[in-house]
């Protein structure tokens, strides 16, 4: 692996975002946390993450809004957007797909699952 994969973790539960970002840092990723949809869009603009782990249910700018904004992102490479959500219905997955999410993780996400996914993405 050349430069480490950069990951933006977005969750309005600040502790959840911080914990996951800290863990990913320890795992060797360049991880950063944002605690709202609007902050996530700003942060993504700034750091051009390879991967965004995005909580869907946030007040104000929701995960869906963020995903749409990142899809419209002009500069390449576009980030891989992973939905992290408590809802696990097929209809929720479909909605996530349509909003431009590439992957879908159900809370509480297991760090091993996230790392495995990130490894796969890095090998592409």
């Amino acid at each position: 692996m050349a430069a480490p994969l950069s990951v933006l973790v977005v969750d309005d539960n600040k502790d959840a975002a911080d914990a996951l970002a800290a863990l990913l840092s320890v795992e060797g990723y360049a991880a950063c946390a944002a605690y709202s949809g609007s902050a996530a869009i700003e942060k993504a603009d700034e750091m051009h993450p390879h991967v965004v782990l995005l909580d869907i249910g946030m007040p104000g700018t929701s995960g869906f809004d963020v995903a749409r904004a990142l899809r419209d992102y002009r500069r390449a490479p576009k980030p891989v957007i992973v939905a992290v959500t408590g809802a696990s219905d097929p209809s929720d997955r479909l909605a996530a797909r349509m909003a431009g999410f590439d992957h879908y993780l159900v809370k509480p996400v297991d760090i091993r699952g996230v790392v495995e996914l990130l490894r796969k993405l890095a090998n592409r």
Binding site: N13, A16, D18, S36, P59, A87
Partner: protein, 609 residues
């Protein structure tokens, strides 16, 4: 009626052909005729009867009403008729008696036991129909109402006089007129319809949920000639059923939500544990992980506490310890609880407390819980940077708390269920704002247990919300007791300088001090505190210790050295209350050390020197 002139012998053949029994006797009561039907009906042979007197032939009947009738006929020479139950034969007879030209008399009679049985049955049925709570209606095949019982009068509001003769469509709503045709078609085929749930309209236009049982009425030949309907009002049952379904689905949603809410803190806790395994326990990430886990465990504890409250409420097991307390101090305690939520969302917060103590008869902890709930809701349902205000004041006799925000508001359709257990503004699983949907229900129960009322209003989605709690005044005696317990500060009105970089904390303290009748000035950093102190020369300075730049200790040290500040009282306001902390402020020249959250009593002590 038998012709008196008819020669009886010539009519023997005629008499034998009768279904009725026939007896005749002469002027001296000697039996002269008895036909075959009479033999069968009375179970006697002609040979035993004819030639004897009536009294010899029928000794069991002597003196009974039938004999009395015969006596009248014999004497009065006028025909009579009666119905009589002969216990001897265990049968009802209809008996006609007529005088004969010979001076005797004839009787003919028939067994009407079956008729009587039917009549009795019918009158019993009629009594049942009339006394029934259900509406029982019959109608012709053309749909014209033929009978209408008291139950129908009660249920539909039309009297029997008004309804009979009208088309049945009178009580069927227009959109269901087709239904009637279908029912009639099935009945023509002889089917019975049981517990058919539908709606009907009463005279006053009320729509009734009813259960219909419809049966065909047949004539003697078995042809369907009409329809009887039994309508039972199931509106109440339906309402209860709907309420139960609603409660059950709300409980289901609640459980789904609860699982979601309980799971949310688990991810950071699990990741924190993982992190602790991977990093040096003394490192910054380890400290961060521990802080995260502590906060999330606290959050879980709060959720579980709320759940325990729900369970106590539903079992009616909430203990209240009511005593006369100042509403202002309850509000301040709640504000301290909710401050983190308000600050995190960067809301502006305005607090207004009454100038005089407003005593209510309340459970301090429970009422503070209510107010904190309302503030947390306001913080949660208002997007970042909003405005929240809390006004506590006397309105008429009542102590009133108003919590207002300019947040997402409440949709009108949500209003009626706002205070129901498990009701929430956002009911999807991807609800952004979390929570169990029990805060307002809990608040209402607690306020009602205080003899108060709670209400909410909103101009609609996105238009903010106001929740108002009204509490009855504390009893007179208690109020006097309470005012003795809380005398005005003996020092009278003082000039107080409040220094806190946290604007909301400073404002809260300002409101509290004003409610104690003090003159208050506020500064938000060390430099402006020095300037304000030099200009206004306060009697008391309340200093927050942890301010960026020049902190409270430094401000106190500098002012202490200046001439004119020797008699000024300095009080440290801090979250730290250990003995070491107190020693540090004492050594820095503070006169008092106050630990947040401040109570009115704390302030009274500082002011009362």
């Amino acid at each position: 009626m038998l012709n008196e002139k008819l020669p009886l012998r010539d009519s023997d053949e005629f008499l034998e052909g009768l279904f009725e029994g026939f007896l005749a006797w002469d002027a001296r009561w000697r039996m002269t005729h008895m036909n075959g039907a009479a033999e069968r009906l009375l179970g006697r042979q002609r040979g035993e009867v004819l030639g004897k007197t009536w009294h010899e032939a029928f000794p069991h009947a002597v003196g009974n009403p039938v004999e009395q009738m015969y006596q009248r006929v014999m004497r009065g020479r006028r025909a009579e008729r009666m119905e009589y139950f002969y216990a001897h034969y265990d049968r009802w007879f209809e008996i006609s008696a007529a005088p004969l030209g010979s001076g005797g008399a004839a009787a003919y009679f028939r067994d009407i036991s079956e008729l009587k049985r039917r009549e009795e049955l019918q009158s019993r049925l009629a009594a049942i129909v009339e006394s029934s709570d259900d509406a029982i209606v019959s109608k012709s095949l053309e749909g014209v109402i033929r009978s209408w019982n008291a139950g129908a009068e009660r249920l539909f509001g039309w009297s029997a006089g008004e309804a009979i003769g009208q088309p049945i469509l009178l009580i069927i709503p227009p959109e269901r007129h087709d239904e009637e045709a279908v029912i009639l078609e099935r009945l023509r085929r002889g089917e019975r319809i049981e517990n058919f749930e539908t709606v009907r309209v009463a005279k006053d236009g009320r729509v009734l949920d009813i259960s219909l049982t419809v049966s065909p009425i047949r004539d003697a030949a078995g042809r369907v000639v009409g329809v009887s309907k039994l309508a039972r009002d199931v509106s109440e049952r339906k309402r209860v059923l709907r309420a139960l379904e609603h409660a059950s689905s709300q409980k289901d949603r609640f459980l789904a939500m609860l699982a979601h809410e309980l799971r949310n803190p688990l991810a950071p806790i699990r990741n924190g544990l993982q992190l602790l395994r991977m990093v040096d326990p003394a490192s910054e990430p380890a400290a961060q992980a521990r802080a995260i886990m502590e906060r999330q465990v606290d959050h879980l504890v709060r959720l579980v506490d709320d759940l325990m409250d729900v369970s106590r409420i539903t079992r009616g097991k909430i203990d209240m310890r009511r005593e006369p307390v100042d509403l202002g101090s309850i509000v301040l305690s709640a504000v301290e609880t909710s401050r983190p939520a308000i600050e995190e969302a960067r809301h502006r917060f305005n607090l207004s407390l009454p100038a005089e103590p407003l005593v209510v008869d309340a459970d301090y902890v429970r009422l503070a819980q209510v107010v904190a709930n309302l503030l947390n809701n306001a913080a949660k349902y208002t997007d970042s940077g909003g405005e929240i205000s809390l006004v506590a004041q006397r309105e008429g006799d009542e102590a009133v708390i108003r919590v207002r925000d300019n947040g997402i508001g409440i949709a009108p359709e949500m209003m009626p269920r706002l205070f129901e257990m498990f009701a929430q503004a956002e009911e999807s699983l991807s609800r952004a704002r979390g929570g169990l949907g029990i805060g307002l229900a809990l608040s209402r129960t607690l306020v009602e247990m205080h003899g108060g009322r709670i209400s909410a209003s909103s101009a609609g989605r996105g238009r903010g919300t106001e929740v108002v709690v009204r509490l009855p005044p504390a009893g007179e005696a208690r109020q006097r007791g309470a005012s003795r317990a809380q005398p005005a500060p003996p020092g009278g009105r003082r000039r107080v300088l409040v220094v806190d970089d946290n604007v909301d904390a400073a404002l809260t303290l300002e409101a509290l001090l004003r409610s104690l009748g003090q003159e208050v000035q506020v500064a938000h950093d060390g430099a402006s505190a020095l300037a304000a102190a030099r200009e206004r020369r306060p009697d008391v300075v309340l200093l927050d210790l942890s301010m960026p730049g020049m902190d409270g200790i430094e401000v106190a040290r500098m002012l202490r050295r200046e001439p004119g500040f020797e008699a000024v009282r300095f009080a440290a306001v801090t979250g730290l209350g250990q003995e070491a902390d107190r020693r540090r402020t004492r050594e820095a020249g503070f006169d008092a050390h106050l630990v947040k959250p401040l109570s009115r009593e704390d302030l009274r002590r500082v002011l009362a020197y």
